[in-house]
C-alpha cells in the first residue's frame, strides 16, 4: 500500500479513538430533532413526522446500544464501536466494489 494512504489510514484510526469527543456536544443539530424535543419546542409533533417515524427502526439508534445504560463509559464504547462498524462497512464495500470495477 502507498505510504501516504497508510499514514492517512493511521490518522483515521486516531480519529476513531477520539470519536467519543463528539458525544460531549449537547443539543441537537438543526432539523434533526426527535419527537420529544419537538413536543417541548412546539407543543405538538407534526403529524407527518409522527407517521414516518415508525417507518424504520435503526438497529443502533443514535450510535448507542439499544436499551443499554446511559453512562458516559458505555456510550463511549458504543460510539467507538459505531465508528468501527462505519469504517469497516463503508471502506470494505467500496474497496471490494472498487477492486472489481477498477482499471489496473
Amino acid at each position: 500500500m502507498d505510504k501516504t494512504i497508510k499514514n492517512l489510514a493511521i490518522g483515521l484510526v486516531v480519529l476513531m479513538i477520539l470519536a467519543p469527543l463528539g458525544l460531549l456536544a449537547v443539543g441537537e443539530t438543526f432539523g434533526e430533532w426527535g419527537n420529544e424535543e419537538l413536543k417541548d419546542k412546539l407543543g405538538y409533533v407534526p403529524q407527518g413526522l409522527e407517521q414516518l417515524g415508525s417507518l424504520w427502526s435503526a438497529p443502533m439508534p443514535d450510535y448507542a446500544f439499544p436499551g443499554g445504560d446511559e453512562s458516559m463509559g458505555m456510550l463511549s464504547i458504543a460510539y467507538i464501536l459505531s465508528a468501527v462498524i462505519g469504517v469497516i462497512v463503508c471502506g470494505g464495500l467500496l474497496y471490494f466494489v472498487g477492486k472489481h470495477i477498477a482499471k489496473s
Binding site: T4, A9, L21, L52, M60
Partner: protein, 220 residues
Amino acid sequence: MIPIWYYAGKKMSNELRSRQVPLLALAAAFSFVIMMFNVPIPGGSTGHAVGGAIIGIVLGPWAGVIAISVALILQALVFGDGGITAIAANCFNMGVVMPFVGYYVYKAISGNSEITSSRRVIAAAIAGYLSLTIAAFCTGVEFGLQPILNHTADGVPLYMPYPMSVTVPAMLGEHVLGFSFLEALITALIFAYIQRTDTTILYGENSPLQKKKQKLGASA
C-alpha cells in the same frame, strides 16, 4: 438522486484506477467518522464537518458523490442518523453539492499554480469553507420549502415546522460562523499533508487525459 448515483457509478467504472481504490474506501470511512464529531455552538445546537471538499479535490467530484453517499446511507440505515426519508436530500446536499463546489472552487483559485504551492493550500481551505456553507444553504432552503409543500388542510405543517425565514438564517448562520471554519481547517490540513508526501494521488494529476495533453504540448 437516483440518476446522479447512476451517472456517478458509470463515470467511476470508466475512470477508477486500481491505485485509487484504497483511497476511495478511506474517503467514505473518513467521511463517516468525521460526521460523528459533533461540535457545539453557542445557542444549544450542534453540527459537524463532512470532509466533502477534500474528498472532491483528492478523488474528483464524481467519486466523491459515491463515497459520501455510502457513508450517509449507512448512517441512516444502521444508526438512525439523518433518517431514511432524508437520504436523498442529505446525499444531494453533502454528497453532491460539497464535492463539486469543493473541487471547482479549489481548481478556480489554484489556476496554473505549482501543485506544491501554498496558494493551493489556501484554495483548499476556501473550497472547504464554501462547500459546507453552500450545502448548509441548500439544506436551509429545503427545510423552508417543507411547510409550504406539506401541510394539513388548516395549514399546520406536516413535517418541518419552521418557515424559510427561520431555516435559512439558522442553517447559514451556524455554518458561516462555525462549522465551515472546521471544514476549511480539515480540508487544508489534509491537502497540505498530501502536497508534502504524494501529489500523484490527487485527482487530475497524472491522469491519462493530462498525460495526453502534456504529450500534445511537447510534440507541438
